[in-house]
């Protein structure tokens, strides 16, 4: 009996040691993740302007959002366009650059760093300002066009037809992190496969299609998911370059969420928007995972 209690006690002691060791993380998780998350879920069912106590209104926020708010759907539209255009383009671009940088050339390490640079500085305010200088009415792009004899005074960033695509371009330009991951993936492909293919007389294009691409699919899946999630969260670029304008053409979801929460002080509505976003992103991620069984190639599964 006593030995039993002692055993429980030692086990408890062991557990406690474990918990003490992870305490910093645990406290952080409870305080900075779990608590805000649950309270935002609660707030999404309330009307809360920070000045007076939250007031329970049931599904009202969700109803207003989905059925009455035109600007909400503007935001959904802008975000979907961004994700649908920017993510594939970015991955394609990252893959192409990764393939080029995978050669063994002199000074390749420097080139790799240089191509990674936009990712480091891409989300910053300064670059957003630079983008305005490039695509503005008196910007570099227009100067270049007029040099080619096509004088135009379109403001690419403020024209409702082109505004969102200048931001897409900025997103694509920040291809560095995907590129690095692709590069790592390319290095993992056994060179024996290529040697065998060369012996069998396969050309470069065939090698790419039959070896590189299938071998790379797990990495593509990873990059795709990361970029889709990042794409849904696009904020800074819209905030600084266009401010959501012209007439909500670049009002990204996160931007509208921010506007609702912090300039109209509708915290409940903002929380509801955040939860819908979370669910949609989770759903899309799940779908991508599901689809992966059809196109992602795992070495271990086949053997």
């Amino acid at each position: 009996m006593t030995s039993n209690i002692a055993a429980v006690r030692t086990r408890w002691k062991e557990h406690l040691t474990g918990y003490v060791f992870i305490a910093p993380w645990l406290l952080g998780f409870i305080g900075f993740a779990l608590f805000p998350l649950t309270s935002s879920l609660y707030l999404s069912f309330t009307e809360y302007d920070l000045l007076s106590a939250p007031e329970w209104i049931g599904w009202d926020n969700y109803r207003r959002m989905l059925f009455e708010d035109e600007r909400y759907w503007n935001a959904v539209r802008a975000t979907l366009i961004y994700v649908a255009v920017a993510v594939p383009l970015k991955l394609l671009f990252a893959l192409i650059v990764a393939l080029i940088l995978n050669q063994s050339l002199r000074g390749i390490a420097i080139l790799r760093s240089v191509y990674y640079l936009p990712s480091i500085i891409g989300g910053s305010v300064a670059v957003a300002v630079m983008w305005r200088q490039l695509f503005g009415m008196d910007g570099a792009v227009n100067s270049f066009l007029s040099m080619l004899g096509k004088t135009t005074n379109v403001s690419w960033i403020m024209n409702p037809d082109t505004a969102i695509y200048t931001i897409v371009l900025l997103g694509v330009w920040q291809f560095g992190s995907s590129m690095l991951i692709f590069l790592a993936g390319l290095k993992q492909i056994p060179s024996g496969l290529y040697e065998a293919a060369v012996i069998d007389g396969a050309g470069r294009w065939q090698q790419f299609l039959k070896i590189t691409l299938p071998q790379l699919t797990p990495v593509i899946l990873f990059n795709l998911i990361m970029q889709v999630i990042a794409g849904f969260k696009v904020f800074t670029e819209g905030m600084i370059i266009t401010g959501g304008g012209p007439f909500d053409q670049t009002l990204f979801y996160a931007l509208y969420l921010y506007e609702k929460s912090f300039s109209s002080f509708e915290m409940g509505y903002g929380s509801a928007m955040a939860w819908v976003m979370l669910l949609v992103v989770a759903l899309i991620t799940a779908l991508i995972f599901k689809s992966s069984t059809y196109w992602v190639h795992y070495e271990t599964k086949e053997s």
Partner: protein, 448 residues
Amino acid sequence: MKGIRLLSFMLLAVVLVISGCAGEKGTTESGKNAGQETDKSTGTEERNGVGDEKVTIRMSYFAGSQATIDLTNQIIELFMKKYPHIFVETEFANYESYFEKLSVQAASNSLPDIIRQDYAFIAQYAEKGLLMPLDEQIASGKIDMTDVHPSNLEGGIVDGGMYGINIGNNAITLIYDPASFEQAGVKPPHEHWTWEDYEQAVLTLHEQTGLYGDSHQTFPSFGIFLRQHEQHLYNEDGTALGYEDDKLFIDFYEMQMRLQKANAISSVAEEMESKGLEDNVFATKKSAMGTFFSNNMENLQKMRGSSLAMSMLPGSGEGNGMYVKPSQFMSIAQSSKNPEEAALFIDFWINDIEANKRMNTYFGFPYAPKVIEAMEPHFTDAQKKIAEYLETVQKYAAPIDPPDPNRASEVTKLLTNVSQEYFFDRISVQEAAAKFRESANAILAKNK
């Protein structure tokens, strides 16, 4: 082994402590200013034997630049010199995060004693009972408003009570370059200028000088246009739009469309690209006129490097359109434990001659007659023009609309969006008018 473990623990501790310190220092620098020099000066005066217990009051404000912060600190220094028994602690943030922070403080019942308020938010705060009515303080002369024209104070009135003291005046104005008018042979604006005169002038200016005549008129101008027709943007209780007839909307925006089609005003895209006063179309000399608040006059003259002139918006000669706008307010929190000292501070800000000389109209134009009298001999060229302009406005002004209702920021955003859709030729002006009415009413209906 043990030695290494101990060492690593110590290292960790050191790192934590250092980062902790750095964090603390960071917040004091950005968020709070206890004012070290001021501390010293009051300290010495205390020794001179003011028997009272020292009172600390907190004051918060929004600041867009270091200049605002420096100037505010200087004024506080003057105040603490005059009233050594009071210590003023300040908190500041830029405009957007200021109101974010303020609402969090309101939620946690820790509002500062003196709150800087804006016309867009004061009604909301007053209605929630967060601000203290100041009528008594004014009646008793603690906040001295003798000889002050009531039009300077009515902006701070919510539901009959005075909740914020105007810290300086502003008014919307057309600022123009008289040289361009002369070059184009157009008679410069005068007090009885009409919108027809304006349209013609903009067209001629463009034809004769190749410059833009003006930019698109935006939200505050539309409000003034409505007032000129004895209508208002919001109804009295802020639950719907205040004007009945969409013809006003249509007239106002169609005129601008005509000017836009003639290329006589800058394009919407060009205006949207500008992010501040510096790259504004008028400041960069691409247009002959622009609509601003009167306090921008000094900067605009500097930026353009030439002498400019000010005029009321067209159609204001009938005396319904224009108004004098309080630049910012100072309010006292309902929860304040030291309302007496807070009132003293507000009084000092408005009436102290030395303080106002130091501010030099930075926070809006002073309105206390004694202060103006003392400052007048030192006015710069731009300040003289502003003073003269504000007098003209006061002559033709009608009382200012009550402070914006809740959700007004959403309505102005909507107006911007709808008018842009029209200017980019996506919808007709009738559709724009109807869309604005419908959506704005839906937004404002939530205030019921």
